[in-house]
Structures are given as structure tokens and as C-alpha cells.
Symmetry: C2
Amino acid sequence: MAGKAEKALGELVDLCKEIHLLRSCSSLLGWDERTYIPQKGTPHRAEQQSLLAGIVHDKFTSPKIGDLLNEIENSELVDDPLSPAAVNVREIRRLYDKEVKLPKSLVEEISRTVTLSEQAWVEARKKSDFHMFSPWLAKMTELKRQQADAIGYKKERYDALLDDYEPGETAENIKKVFDGLRKELVELVEAIGSSSRRPDISILERNYPVDKQEVVSKTASASIGFDYNGGRLDITTHPFCTTIGPGDVRITTRYNQNHFGQAFFGVLHESGHGLYEQGLDPQYAGLPMGESVSLGIHESQSRMWENFVGRSKPFWIYFFPWVKKVFWESLNDVKLDDFYFAINDVRPSLIRVEADEVTYNLHILLRFEIEHAIFAGDLKTDDVPGVWNENFKRYFGIVPPDDARGCLQDVHWSCGYIGYFPTYTLGNLYAAQFFAKAKEELGNLDEQFSHGSFTDLLSWLREKIHKHGMRYRAPDLVKEVTGKPLSHEYLMSYLKEKYGMLYGI
Amino acid sequence: MAGKAEKALGELVDLCKEIHLLRSCSSLLGWDERTYIPQKGTPHRAEQQSLLAGIVHDKFTSPKIGDLLNEIENSELVDDPLSPAAVNVREIRRLYDKEVKLPKSLVEEISRTVTLSEQAWVEARKKSDFHMFSPWLAKMTELKRQQADAIGYKKERYDALLDDYEPGETAENIKKVFDGLRKELVELVEAIGSSSRRPDISILERNYPVDKQEVVSKTASASIGFDYNGGRLDITTHPFCTTIGPGDVRITTRYNQNHFGQAFFGVLHESGHGLYEQGLDPQYAGLPMGESVSLGIHESQSRMWENFVGRSKPFWIYFFPWVKKVFWESLNDVKLDDFYFAINDVRPSLIRVEADEVTYNLHILLRFEIEHAIFAGDLKTDDVPGVWNENFKRYFGIVPPDDARGCLQDVHWSCGYIGYFPTYTLGNLYAAQFFAKAKEELGNLDEQFSHGSFTDLLSWLREKIHKHGMRYRAPDLVKEVTGKPLSHEYLMSYLKEKYGMLYGI
């Protein structure tokens, strides 16, 4: 019997690796589409992608996979739920069930609607008129409700969508954690706003030649451990990190000659994603044991390197003297403390993607509350602008002057990405909780950073998180690594300590 | 009946377009492999390529394709042999028969042998010892003989291999044309060697900053018509042109800061290939009617733009004043005539890829004679160095000092590319014959070039050659376009006139 199950496991692994290989071809096509493709090449690219997606779908929904899963699930191979075999089977089952449960007609309708809805969003944003987009959001919500119903859920529909991004997480739990966060965060933002201290952020807006920014960003990212023999850095409008395969992890950024931080911290952020990908176990490439846990855990890695490390004082004790030499014309009169304060400027602002690490989470809380209410049927899409602006005023003390800089600023809802937003703040929360534990276990991290040594932290992350792939779902991983369930307290005490010092509060 | 055949044709077209889409994914993977892939990403890339190749092979050898071909071939759809349907069916049949006739075991053995043989060639070239490589060449020849026998041929085995590169061409015909060329070419090279005139080629070896070379090369290539909205130029060690799909044709080059010509003429050469690809009919993308005729016809386009246009006096009457300004430091004391003479320097040299447009063909003649003799069993591989050096002396008046700079310089034979070499000179012959006809029909081409206008020539090529795809096999295309069968006379009179003037002979 075990022989039969083992044979089935072997076949399943081969099939999944083959599907992964095909998906990885799509990844390269996608990378090229966002970096180097000539303008007239895009229609052909769409055909290539759609053909590959079709082949992958056919292979993955073949009843053969269901049969193999059944065979293994009824064997002792999965007795230990944390064994690689059990983990792979558990997660392949999750994806397989979703893929076969979704009616093809619904998948196609969502796909068609996304195209139209995104076009409507682009137009609506251009005219700053949410009501042009509102019916599309309503339609998309309805389709995603059908999707959730087809897939099924335990407590509430929203959880079925959340599962695409943060498997094992629930709206109920997110709500609980976010509720704790909200009050303290708003208070902190108010306190910072009332402080008389203000950094001089104009020093970041001087002349920073792009070629030097590239050298500095790449050097810093290589210093924290990103392996450029197994990766690349290119330029795109919207920065991202993508994995083509083991040994091929690519990140991108955009440069602004008149801003030091945008590319630099962007590269650290994407490098954080890249370090996670480079730390996955290549023997399990193409299998859940060789894949990242969730968007939230992924974001915890990017945020940790970008903010907890990259915007820390010790990091700049090491890097600032060199960066100052590179950009001598712009930084020769700047002191470390002023530079450090400038890169940690906190102020209420309208646009999420430009927000600092304190206010950023309020942008997310606002979005989560609204999409959760729409999805639960408690909020009509037409009422979104009113609620958005009202809550924005409550959290930030300011009101967006128009929808383009308010509830129309993000593409997510137009693409049907409902359940995606909370993963950004989950990432910050995980990052804080992991980082606190790393400091506790590794001791003198600050001292190490100030000497340009980041290997202890990276090894710790590799050992505790990366190498496990999807062995633990995010909520369990947090408990496994830190001994505690997810809590808002770690992020808040990190923010209070850091910004308390900076703003004298 | 016609309805059934039409349905079959529709199905065949869909299948071929799907196979082409998959192949075009491989093309992008291949482009990336030679441009941007990080070092550690290559093993995964090999797996991706091998999976795609397997899927393509399975799809293309499916009996379904044979059935569809039969259905259409027995219908009136192919009554007109030059109709798109008939051409597509003719060429798909050619490829399908080859693919199904080749035993899988032979394909695999050739593939394994290529890997080992290429390694042996690299080693042998490093040590400049042909005898290390000789047994591999013998083995490869034997395998290629088996391939030829499996595929079948009319007159001689060599033709079965030639068919991979130059469908419809025969060794007998090549021999006849090359025989005519040889005598006159050797005489011309001797006459040039005896001339007292010599260009000062040192002016090309001054300081030519790479960024400016890129601007100049791209500008020239855009001027002759290469569309950068539907293409790219990147850097690689070995320049090439590849088509990802309609609207996406990519060329590459390499820059040498201390040589003006290598990148410039390399880019014109690859642009010539690119113009052909950009001129194919997109409605037939993925079908023979939307593909190039042969390697020789492809090379005729690259050579025409590189040499007949790019190394012509009128071309430089237009470009030289501007290029002089761009590289003022290196060219301010240089006269147009001296520059023109320098870029047309002719002298016997050891290395094919560095040869000028006169002696280049002697390099090819030598290789064709040797590979043809080996393949016919008239020459043992151990005797190659002797024959090579003897003939080299006869054609060029010099003897290679070692095998590395003699019979070991090219990779082709180690990869089993037998029948490939002659297409280079066929390209030059086609180019000369086409170009003579274009001048005859279009009149004042020199005048146009000297004003930077290349559209008449490009439109003529599009109309006469590009848009037909594989409608005509190469020998027929030449007759169709020029009214004459392929002859060495056009190339010889072009060379005699041009170099007669330059060298005063």
C-alpha cells in the first residue's frame, strides 16, 4: 500500500514540477513585458501568456491530480502533518480544489470584467469621478461573491478571498488585530503632528545622479545578502520582484534624479522579497515546500529590510559616510542625524504608496474596513467616497481634495483583488514581531548593522522562515517563530520607541 | 468535400499557430539566456527549454497533423501550388515528414553527441590540436549520415542535410556555382594583393566611446528602416537576430571601444535580418507563408544592408559628416575617401568572422569543399588539417600557423551543422543578384542613399521577397525576382567594379 502511495507521490511531484516549469516560462514573459518588450510586441505576448495559462490550467485541473491526491491522503505518507509530503499534499489539495470548484464560465466572466473594470477605473481616476467606477466595483463585488460561494468558507465569505493571498487567515482575526492597532496608531500620528521637531526633507531632494543611485542601491542590496549571481536589478515603472526559477530572482526599481530615497528604499524593499525567494529550498522548487507562505509573510521580509533595517540608525552609521562621499555635491553639509531624521519623516499624506512606515498602516486599515463592509453588504459602492473621506479625516486629520487622490488611487479593486490590502499591514505586523524575536535571540543586531554585517539576521530568517516554504501557514509560523500569536503590540512598541526618540514624544 | 478540407485546413492552421506560439516562448527564453539571465539561472533555463521542446515535438508529431495534411493534399485547396494554402501545406508536410521519419533514438544520440563533441572542440581549439576533435567529427558525420538516410534524398545524402537550411537547394548546384566563383575570386584577391594602394585602417582603431557607438549604430539602423517600436538592440558576446513574434524582433551586438566598424557593421548586418523578419506578413505568423525562405535568403538581406548599402560610397556621403561630428576627436582629420577605403580594406586573413566581403567567400568555399568531401566519404577527418592548410595556401597565399586559427576556428561541425556553411556565400550571391535587379528597376539608388533615403530599396525588398514568406523556395525566388537562375556573375561584377576602383586594378 505504501508503495502505491509513494508512486502516486512521485507522479504528483513530477506533474507539479512540470506545471511549475511552465508557470516559470510565464514569469519570464511577464518580466520581459514589464522591462524590455518593444511596444508592438504586446499583442503577441498576450497570446503567449493566454496559451501557457490554458495549458497550465488543463494540466492542473486534470482528474489525474485529484486521483493522486486521494491516493496519498489515504496513506501513512501524510501521518506527520509537518512532513514535506504532507505539506505539499495539503497545499496542492487547497489549490486543486479551488481550481476545480470554480466554474469556467465564472472565471471567464471575471477575466472579462477585470479588463473592462480596469479601463473604467483608469477613466474614472483621470476624471476623478468615483461614480463612473462605482457600478464596476459593484459588479466585481458580485462576481467575487459568487467566487467565494463556489469555493466555500467556514465563517464568512471574505475569508474565501483572503485565502488567495493569506491562507489560513480570517477577517475576524484581522479585524481584532487591526482594532488594537488603530487607536494607538492614530494617537501616535497625532502626537508626531503636535511635535515641534521636523526633519529637513529637502536634503533628500537635491541632485542624485541616477548612475550613482544605481551603484549605491545595488551595493546596499548586495550587502544585506541579495545574490546578483542569482538575480538582477532592472528598471520599471512599477517596481516588483519576480522569480523565474531557482537561481534567477529579479527585482526592479525606478529612479528619480531629484530624490534619494525612492529608488534606494525601493531596492531594499524588493531585495527583501528577493532574499526570501533566494532563501527557499531549491530541492522543493515547484512544490509548496519550496514556496512562500503568503503575501503577508512575503511583505514582512521586504518591510523588515526596507524599514526595520534600512531606515535604522545603525544601518546608516555604516552606510552614510560612504553614501556621503558618493553624493558629495549634495550631502557634504549633511549630518548623519539630519539624514536619518529626513528618511524617517512622518506626516499625513494622501497617497498610500508614498506614505511613511507609521501612517502607511492607516491607509491600509481604511481600505480593509471599506472593502470588508462592501463585501459583507453593509456598504453600497456609491457610498464609498463619503465613507473614505470621513474616515480619512478621522485617521489623518485631512480630507482628500478629490477622488483621484482618495478612493480612486489604487488599482486593486478594479482587478478584483479583494482581500489583498490587509496583507500589507499584516506584513508590517509580522515584520515587527519577527524582528523583535530576532533581536531577542541574536542580541547585538544594532552593533552588527553599524559594522555592515547583516548575515546573522539573514541566517536567522533563512533558518526560521525561508527554508520552511509553506510548512506552516502564516498564523502558525508566527507562533512557531515567536512563541506568540500575531499581535499589534510589537509594531506599536517599535514605532513608539523609534519615533518617540526622533520626535521627542 | 471542399468543406471537409477547409475544416481540416482551419484545424491545421490553429495547431501550427499554437505550436508557433510555444516556440516563440522558447525564443524569448533563448534571447534572455544570451542577454540578461543571471549566471545561476541557467540550469533552470535548460529545464524550461527542454520541457517546451518536448511539448512542441509531441504536438507537431501527433498523427493528427498527418491526417489533416492528407485531407488537404487530396483536395482542390492545393490546386494552385503558389496559393497560401498550398504553400503552407507543402512546407508543413516537409517539416512533419522529417520530424516523424527521424527515430527518437537517433535524435537523442545526436543531441548527446553534440554536447560532448562541442566540449571536445573547445578543448581541442584551446590546445590547437585537431586530432583531439577528429574522432568526434567522424562520429558526428556518421550520425548525420544516418539522419540523411532516415530522411531520404534524391541525388546525394548531403542534400538531405542542406534541406534543413536551404530547402530545395542541391550540393550539385552549389558546386557548380561555387566553381565559377572560385577562380575569379582567387584572381581578384591576388590582384588586390598586388596593388600598391593600401587603406590606412588605423583610423578605425582610434577611440570610439561605446555610448556614442550605440547612438550612431541605432540611428543608422533606424534610418534604413529597422523599427524600434517593434524591436530592440541589446549587447551579447555573439551577435544575433531573433524574432519573438510579430512586432517583436530583437537584434544584438558587441562594442569595441577601439574599433569603429565591428559594432556599426554588425548592427547593420543584424538589422538586415531584422528588416526581413519585420517585413514578413503578420497574418501568416506561425505559418510557412509568414516565415523566411532559407538561411541563404536571410543572409542575402543582412549582407545587402551591411555591405552593398552600408559599405557603399553613397551611404557614407550621407552619414560621414554626421559621424565625423559625433567622433570629432578621432575623425576630424579624416577625409571621406580615406574612411570609405578603410572600411573596405581587403586582405587575406585567417579568421572567417573577421574577413572582408571579398575574401569571406573563399573561407566558405574552403569549408564547403571539405565538409562535402568528408560527408561523401572522400576525405578522412584525420586528413582535414592537411587539406585545409593546402587549400588555404592556394586561395589566400598564406598558411594558418596552427589548427586553432585554421580548421578548428568554427563551432559548426562540432554541433553537427553540416550543410550550413554554404548558405553564407549563397547569401552573398543572392544579395548581389537581387541588388543588381533592384538597381536596374529602381534606377538612382546611389543618389537616394547619398541623401539618406533607403525606403525605395526596402519597399522593393518587402514587395519582392519579404511579403511572400516561403511561397517560393530560394532557387525559384531568385528566378522569380531576377528572371535568372542563381549565378556567380552578379557578385563578381559587383566586387570587381567596387574594388577595381578602390585598388586601381
